[in-house]
Amino acid sequence: MSGHNCVAIATDTRLSTQLMTIDTSFQRVFKVTDSCLMGVSGLGTDVQTLQLTLRSFYFSNSLMKFKLNLYRLKEGRDMKADVFSKLVATSLYEHRFGPYFVSPVIAGLDKVGENEYSPVICTYDSIGYREHNGQFEVAGTGAELLYGVCETFYKPNLEPEQLFEVISNSLLSALDRDSLSGWGAKVYLLTPTELTVRSLKTRQD
């Protein structure tokens, strides 16, 4: 979700096989650059293949981390959120006929002027269609439930703390109706100067 000079990603922290919960503190959201966050939902193995964890040492094939580092070496700067969002789209489209079973969400802030930032909010289907309307995007098993609540609760140009309230309430409402999500939730709130991560108390069933 985007606000005025801020963006946020909210996610649950559950990892499961079918109906059985495996992990209740699975990390799905990663900091790509200082201006961009990426949340990946979907098949656990593909999430980790795509992800950008700092422990990329263990996951030698963490795809996006590799591409980011290569870009940094070539260009001598961090990728802009908007550029990164397109890179993710092409990376997914590359696997058009054997897709990764993921649907990532990207939230970033690109500087467009003095104290002025344009939010980058987009989501993808598994083969790289980039969906972006600048307001909110949803992905994952609870996506259909989230569409409804976000549509109702979202207002444009929210300040960071208001955005936190709206996104948290939207997520919690959807979690209570989706049996495959829950078991803890995290909200990542990105402003130009600070990244705030908050763990929310959720139902554990």
Binding site: M20, S25, F30, L180, K186, Y188, V197, R203, D205
Partner: protein, 303 residues
Amino acid sequence: MDNENFGLAKSFSSAPVLSISPHTNFSQKEQTDIEHELNEQVGTTGEYVSEGFCFKLAPGQDQIGFMRSLKEKAPKLTDFAKGTTTLAFEFQEGVLVAVDARATMGAFISSNNVRKVIEINDFLLGTMAGGAADCMFWEKYVAMQCRVYELRNGEKPSVAMASMMLASIMRQYRGQGLSMGTMFTGSDKTGASLYYIDNDATRVKGRLFAVGSGGTFAYGVLDTNYRYDMSLDEAVNLGIRAITSATFKDSASGGVVRIYHVTNHGKWNLIHDAIDVSELHYQFEQNKGHTGRGNEGKPNKYL
């Protein structure tokens, strides 16, 4: 299976089975050979024909074949909500029944406050797993037959007999698409007893059952802590504990815990109507010194 009860119950179950069979409302042409044989065995007129209902079966002749091809062609159509954790066990003071309260349609939670214990009458309880409508309908039907028996004979039927009625109905409709996994429990002259009955017409008398998608997780807790000589308090706590840990691991179970106690003296009591499992989880974890979020021993990793 105990043969004494089998013989007794069979004579009762045959009557209701006949009266609800499609025979009374369908023309002779639509009967299958199986039904003909069955009717010949039990006679052509039922003893109690008072219900005035009948299942609408599939057009054509072969309901079993129809269901089989339906399962192939549209697997989801016959796939009723199955996510559940229900458990029941015998102990020295009777039978304890504990259930969760979540109803799901696929991943969607349609309710977190469902009643999965069916109060059949004042001495019988049945739990609900599989198709809710099938469980509810047939257990209520058994309630009616029990009442008829009581009026006719001046005494309540035994739990063994009542459970056999249900099992016989399941036998009659086997393969025709009913979905039911129930723990049938109640209290009669001989004390409380517990049966497991399902839509394959399995009927097992037993000491400890857990049914549903969360059943395996509940068994873990039950088998570890179960003793026959528990007090009621201990048994209630065990039931709560087992349901809570099952709802935690199993995403199709959740909501609240409901606990029933079937005494040895012909009654059942509702012990807990609705305890929120999420609050229970946090409470149990805090007793262990944990946060309840499962992050013990993990680094505070957020990026």
